[in-house]
Every structure is written in structure tokens, then in C-alpha cells.
Amino acid sequence: MARARSDLFERIVEVAPSAILMTDGTGHVKLVNAEAERLFGWARDELVGQPIEKLVPVRWREAHPGHRASFMESPKPRTIGAGRDLFALRRDGTEVPVEIGLAPIDVAGAIHVVATVVDLTERRLAETRFRVAVESSPHAIAMVDENGIIVLANHELERLFGYTRSELLGRSIDSLVPERLRDAHPDHRSAFARDPRPRAMGTGRSLFGVRKDGQEVPVEIGLAPIESRDGLLVLASVVDITERQRAEDRFRRAVESAPNAMVMVDARGGILLANSRAGQIFGYAPAELIGRPVEMLVPSRFREAHPELRESFYRDLRSRPMGAGRDLFGLRRDGSEFPVEIGLNPLETPDGTLVLASVIDITERKRIEETRFLTTMQLERTNRELTRAKRDLELAVARLERSNEELDEFAYAVSHDLRSPLRGIENLATWITEDADESLTGDARRWLDLIPERIERMDRLLEDLLAYSRAVRAASSVEETDCHELVGDVLSMLPIPESFRVQVAIYLPLVKIHRVPLERVLMNLVDNAVKHHDRDRGTIEIFGRLVDEGSIELEVRDDGPGIPPQLRERCFGLFRSMSDRGGTGVGLALVKRVVENRGGSISIHDNQPRGTTFRLLWPVEP
């Protein structure tokens, strides 16, 4: 029976997938299975009866009997080689990494030892590959055991925390957590152990590591559980986000200092960032906007369509103004709306594509545009009215000019054409007088005798009228004129009685003026002064001075009867002779016409102590 059980045992050992050997109390090999033959390269009979040291590398061979002895002293199952490198020597002299389980076994009253040898070559290779992968990772990586002890650290971790690898290995991961957070860390570790799955540490919270020099570093940490024979290991990948945070800070500061309102929105329409200006125009504190949907800033009537519009922006990501062509409005906290202009900019970030919206409150601009529009309308209307008024005026002036011309032509035609019938009447009257001779009665002769005088009068009227109508038709040229000389010429051409004294005081340089019409005007004025004087003796003064570059002033003063103020305007009218002294009443009308035609003016004033002053402003040509 025992025999049969022993056979069965041997067969089981023979087919076991691990290499199994049995030694006796002196360390001599008693049993070898097939796998052991394969692992060590020896044939079974080459090993049986040999001391087990045959399979121990030479460097450890001497110490080995001591190890055996100490096992035998207290023979309990155990594993050797765990945690340190253990090698077995093969027949060909090569070594193979192994893990060995030892168990005492009683064979017929004698203690034997069964050694189960596991070839670690594959596992070691995998481990090495894992270490190399970890080592070459650009991220800092730590592997931590169940107790939080660092069992693996790569170069990046050394660099990040400022410890050497030997300082890191065996150290508690908790020591890399800032002191203020350190106490809570074991709990976090336990929590992870209870639900071990890959995830980011501390979602949403800012994480910090503490360096050997005490300095804190902002980090992001990814956690992954690794089940091992040694229990749950945790692989922690640590990323130094100092640079990223600095860039983010710079970005935040840039956004904050932008002159426009800026709102950063994520793909779901949540507000991630808003600057003070944005808070200001919408009536919120910037912090109140963070995390809220951007639709809160959109008037309710546009709100429903907004998410779809946001999505369409994502479908065609490029910087562009929002709602081209449409009027956009923002909604303030108090419910009021204001016109806005919005620029949209896609922003690629580690957190996905975000949209940075730049919002401009265009209330003021709209107001100005409106004002400008109204002002422009007003201006245009005024312009139209002005244009119309101008056209009316031009028409009126043209009509006036035409009617003036017609009047001139009429006056000319009348004065001219009336003369020949008048001549005829004169002839007829003369002939009647001649032919009737003595046969006329007294009255008939008297009436007939009155005709020539009337004809004479009419002749003068026609002549003056002709002169009046010709006055402004006459061409005139500008001449450099010595006005003293001009006055002298005028006086020499007029029949001035000896009893009249004429005083001339001209304080004028040579001036460029229309000389001929001025001569005519002065002649009329001086002639009038003489003709209408009420006394036998009289004094006439002619005075001249320069008013400015543009005109000269000439005065003709007499000491005659004077003209009452109320008649002064009237006396410039046609046929308004003030006396019966032979004038037709055309003279002053002609004077005024000529003066005004040349751009001058004439007025009547009192002379002291008696008489009239005609003050004439006559333009100087450039």
C-alpha cells in the first residue's frame, strides 16, 4: 500500500510543471523530476546522489551548507530568493534566476527537503522590460506598495522631487505630499485600494508635491493599480504642471487685462473664465459666471437656439464674428439688454477645444451711429431745402435780371421810339403856327404857343430816361485814378455859376476804380447841388477818403435847403424831382442805379449848419 502511494507520489512529481528536487538531511540529491532535468541540463542519474551544491553558483557554494544546516535546525516550509536575486547553476555553466520553495518532508523517519524551483527568467525579463519602460517615461513614475512605500522610482521622479533613487526607494510616498495635506493622504490611499481602477488623482483639485528642498510643485497625478503576488501595487505617474500653470496664468492675466469683455466657454457651453470687464458689462462678479452656462448671458428669446449655434461653431472652427449681419444683444443680470458685437476664437487646450468670446458693448457706438444717422438726415434735409431755396433764388434773380433787362429795353425803346412821333408833333405845331399866320384867334394862338415848351420838357424826359436805361449798359473799365484830378474834370465840365464856391478835399492815394461811372455820378451830384440851391450864393464841398482796402468814401455837401429825412429815400425814385428847377427827376435815380450796379452805396445826410450831404461808398477794385 505504501509502495503504491509512493509510486503515485513519484509520478505526480514527475509531471509537475516546476522543477522539483529532493535532498536528504546531508544535502544529497535523492529525487529529480523531468522539469528539473530540463532546467538544469543534467540527466537524472548525473544528479541523484550528488550534493545539492552542484547546482549552486560557485560564489555562494561555500556558504550553502551553512544555509542548509540552519534550515534543518528548524525545518519549516519557506521560500528563498524572494526579494533578492537568486540564481541556480546549470550544467553548461550559465546561471538561471530562480525562486525556490523549501519544504521538509519525513521519509521513513528521516527529514528530507523538497525544493521546488521556479525559473524566473521570463518574469525577470518582463520586470526588466517594465523597469526600462518606467525609466524611459518622460513622466515621473513611482510604484508604491500597499503600505505606501515606494518600491520603484524613475529618473524623472528623482529630478522632480530632488531625491536620489536610493533615497526614494523604501520611503513612504506620503513624504512627497505637502505637510498640510499629508495627514489625509493614507486615507486617500486606502480609498483607492478599495476601488482600484486607473484614474486621475484628486479630480478638480489642485495637487502639489513637495520637493526635498521643501518647495512645492503643482502636479497632476495619474494612478493605476497593479495586482502582484506581493499585493496591490500602485503606479503613480506625476506630471509637473508648473509651466502649464504659468502659461495658464499668463493667459488669464492677458484675458483679464484685455480691454474687451472676454468669456471662455467649453464645448458644453460652460463658462470657464470671465474677466472683470465681462462681469462689469453683464452686471456680475466674474466669479459668479464661472461654471454657469453661457446662455445666462443671452436674452431668453435667443436662448433656445443658442446651443445649436454653439455646435455649428464647433463644426467649423475658425475665428470669426458671431452672427454676421444680425443684431446681437447681451442680457444683464437686471434683465436689461444691450447691443453687443462678439468675436469668437477657437482655442485648442489640453482640456479640449474651448471658445474664447470677446464681447464689445456697442451701446455707445449705436447711439453715435443713430445720432450721426439723424444728423445726416437732418443735414440732407437742410441741404435739400437749401438747394431748393438756392434754385428758387437763382430763378428769382434770373427773373429779376430778365425783368430788369426788359425794363431797360423797354425804357430804351420807349425813350427812343417816342422821340420821332414827338418830333412829328413838334413839326406839325410849328407848321400850323407858320401856316395859320394871322388867322388864329388869341386863345388858339396862346394854346399853340404852349406846345413847344411841353415838347421841350418831354424831350428832356426822354433823354434822361434814355440816359438812365443806358447808364448800366455802358461798358466800363478799371483805371488807376487820381480822384483829385477826377473831381477837377467833373467841375470843369459843369456850368457852375461864379457865385458858387467849390471846396475840394481829397485824401486819397491812386486807386483802381471804375472811373467813368463815378465821374457821371459826381457830375450829377454836383449839378444837383447847384441846380437845387435855394440861394444865389452857395458853397459846395467835395470830400474824399479811404475807408479800407475795399472802398473809398466821397461826400458832396451843399448849403442849400436840405432834404427832410422822410423824403430822403423817395428822392432816389424815378421822376421824383423835389423842385421845379428844370430837373426831370431822373438824376438821383440814375445815380443810385449806377452806384449800386458797381457795388457801392449812397445815402443822404444833413450838412451843418444847413444843406445836404450825399455820402457815397465806391468800391476799389483789386
Binding site: S420, L422, G424, N427
Partner: protein
């Protein structure tokens, strides 16, 4: 036969005609006056060679049917104005008429509205008569 030279007056206005006649009478001008009422009539007579040569034409410009200037032109074409003389006596004072008349050979241009026009015409006739006293 000795005789006063001929003055041909072409004038439609009766008063003006009478005025010229009276000038003749008053000044006892040494000339014989022949009067036509319009240009056509005068031109027909000229064609028939009814006028003595040389004679003095006194022509009004404003005539019925044929205006005075046309008559002047026609007379010039008929070669009357080589030895005859022509004077214009008119109400027109238009400068263009005056210039035109002179171009067509008129030796004087008198305006009826001028008081002295008839005296001046008298002088011209007197002068013409003195130069052309007929001695045959």
C-alpha cells in the same frame, strides 16, 4: 439848260416828307425834289432810268415792302452810287444799321429824332447842289 440837281426822297411818312419839303421851301434849296413812297417804286424808276445823273438819294430805312438798306444795295448794283450820292434819314439809331448803310455807300446817316437832322439834311443838299449845278 441850267437847272437845279435832282433829290430823290424815298419816304413813306407824310409828316417827314412834308418836313423835308418845308426845308426845301424855307431854305430855298437849289434842287428839285422827287418823292417815292416805297423802295419798290423807287427801284422801278431807277431801272427805267428815270433819274437824272448825278442825283442825291435821301432814303428812309424803315420802308414798306422793300427796306431802305435793300434799296441802297440795289441802287449800288445798278451802278447808281458811282456818280449819285445817298443819304439815310431814319428813326433807327441802331449802330448796325449805320455801319451797314455806310458800307453800302451812304455818305451820311441822319437820325429823325435829332432836332438838327433837317438842318443838316438842308446843308447836305445845298452842298450837293453847289457841286452839281446843271449847266446843260
Amino acid at each position: 439848260m441850267t437847272g437845279a440837281p435832282q433829290v430823290v426822297l424815298v419816304e413813306d411818312d407824310a409828316i417827314d416828307t412834308e418836313a423835308v419839303r418845308r426845308t426845301f421851301t424855307r431854305r430855298k434849296l437849289p434842287a428839285r425834289l422827287v418823292r417815292f413812297q416805297d423802295g419798290d417804286e423807287a427801284l422801278a424808276a431807277a431801272r427805267r432810268g428815270e433819274f437824272e445823273r448825278p442825283c442825291l438819294f435821301v432814303i428812309d430805312l424803315n420802308l414798306p415792302r422793300m427796306p431802305g438798306l435793300e434799296l441802297l444795295e440795289a441802287l449800288d448794283r445798278l451802278a447808281y452810287l458811282g456818280d449819285c450820292e445817298a443819304v439815310v434819314l431814319t428813326t433807327s439809331s441802331a449802330e448796325s444799321d449805320r455801319a451797314h448803310a455806310h458800307r453800302l455807300g451812304a455818305s451820311a446817316y441822319l437820325s429823325k429824332s435829332d432836332r438838327g437832322a433837317l438842318d443838316r439834311l438842308g446843308d447836305l443838299i445845298e452842298d450837293f447842289a453847289r457841286r452839281h449845278v446843271r449847266t446843260t
